[in-house]
């Protein structure tokens, strides 16, 4: 009977000791691999929340914050292309996953470590005037991004009788550096704001 008890104890001790010694190997097997690889892009207003500017005036500064979160499994090199369009110009397409044909006004480069987020402060102001010959048209002149005056001329915005105003679309496209092609490619993500350019 005593021998039987020793046998059981021996088995338990053997298994526990074997598991303990094998724990570094077991740890490798148990670690759950990351299955979802993506980048999150979001835009915040001046209060770091969803309070966005809507009615804008000439020369007024509008602070915005772009938030980019990297969940790709490794660090990533991103580029934000700042673009502005009127109601008829090319826009990025969420269904076809294509970027706008418009050339960017400015580019912002940054690198985000894996599982980290980066918040980019962007100060925006607008310079525009009513067309001297056509009061139904607004002539865009410059967009000032982080203190740099970027020309948007000859973009014009027609009066929108339905929404009653001159509406311009400011948007930020996310591009990512592709190691294989050694070039940036559109990451199929953008955030945009429709703005009523008040006169």
């Amino acid at each position: 009977m005593a021998l039987q008890q020793y046998k059981t104890l021996l088995l338990v001790v053997t298994v526990v000791l074997a598991l303990f010694v094998a724990s570094p190997a077991i740890q490798q097997l148990v670690a759950v691999p990351q299955t979802t690889y993506l980048t999150e892009l979001s835009l915040f207003g001046s209060y770091h929340n969803a309070t966005y500017p809507y009615n804008v005036t000439v020369g007024q500064n509008y602070p915005l914050y772009l938030n980019v979160e990297n969940r790709l499994g490794s660090c990533a090199y991103y580029l934000i292309e700042v673009k502005f369009r009127n109601q008829t110009q090319s826009a990025p397409d969420s269904f076809n996953h294509t970027s706008s044909d418009l050339s960017s006004l400015g580019k912002i480069s940054f690198i985000v470590a894996n599982n980290e987020a980066m918040q980019l402060p962007i100060d925006i102001s607008f310079q525009y005037k009513l067309d001297g010959n056509n009061k139904d048209q607004l002539d865009m002149q410059n967009i000032i991004v982080n203190g740099f005056s970027l020309s948007v001329s000859p973009t014009t915005i027609a009066w929108d009788p339905q929404r009653i105003g001159y509406y311009g679309n400011l948007f930020f496209e996310l591009w990512i550096f592709n190691d294989t092609t050694n070039a940036f490619q559109y990451n199929q993500r953008y955030v945009s704001l429709w703005l009523n350019m008040t006169t």
Binding site: L3, I111, F148
Partner: protein, 154 residues
């Protein structure tokens, strides 16, 4: 007296010319600004690749990220300045961006090498743990069999 004045005037002129030659601000044209930006972009790509390789090898690249982002921020300023036709600022920012990354690749290589060494050590630990646990199991089973035989005899 006149000779002394002449020497003074000559000294002033020489000083003025020297200052004008060596202390004048850099006035960059569009081409040199563009070249500096392209160079800074390529430099950043190279350093990013080095950091990514180090990370793939298992290195903690957090200290490198801050430097990379400083350089990327300066490159962004350069690109915005270029877009606003301020070629002088664009050139200066692009040059600063490149300077930020001096010695970066060697730092990344050192981290990568450390990570490879750690990886090798981890592998040895892993193999040792597997061999050790198998050995313990074998000894345990052998002891159990021996005890079983003794029990049968009694």
């Amino acid at each position: 007296m006149i000779k002394g004045l002449k020497t003074f005037v000559i000294t002033i002129v020489i000083l003025f010319i020297t200052t004008a030659l060596f202390a004048s601000p850099v006035f960059a044209d569009q081409n040199s600004a563009q070249t500096a930006i392209i160079s800074a972009q390529n430099n950043l790509k190279t350093c990013y690749d080095a950091a990514k390789q180090a990370q793939t090898a298992g290195a903690n690249v957090d200290p490198l990220m801050a430097t990379l982002n400083d350089a990327a921020g300066l490159l962004s300023e350069a690109q915005l300045a270029y877009a606003s036709n301020d070629y002088n600022s664009a050139y200066n920012y692009a040059t600063q961006s490149q300077s930020k990354l001096n010695g970066f690749t060697s730092q990344a290589s050192a981290l990568q090498q450390n990570a490879i060494n750690n990886d090798n050590q981890n592998f040895i630990t892993l193999v040792s743990s597997v061999i050790g646990s198998v050995a313990i199991l074998c000894v345990g089973i052998a002891a159990w069999v021996t005890l079983n035989r003794k029990q049968r005899k009694t």
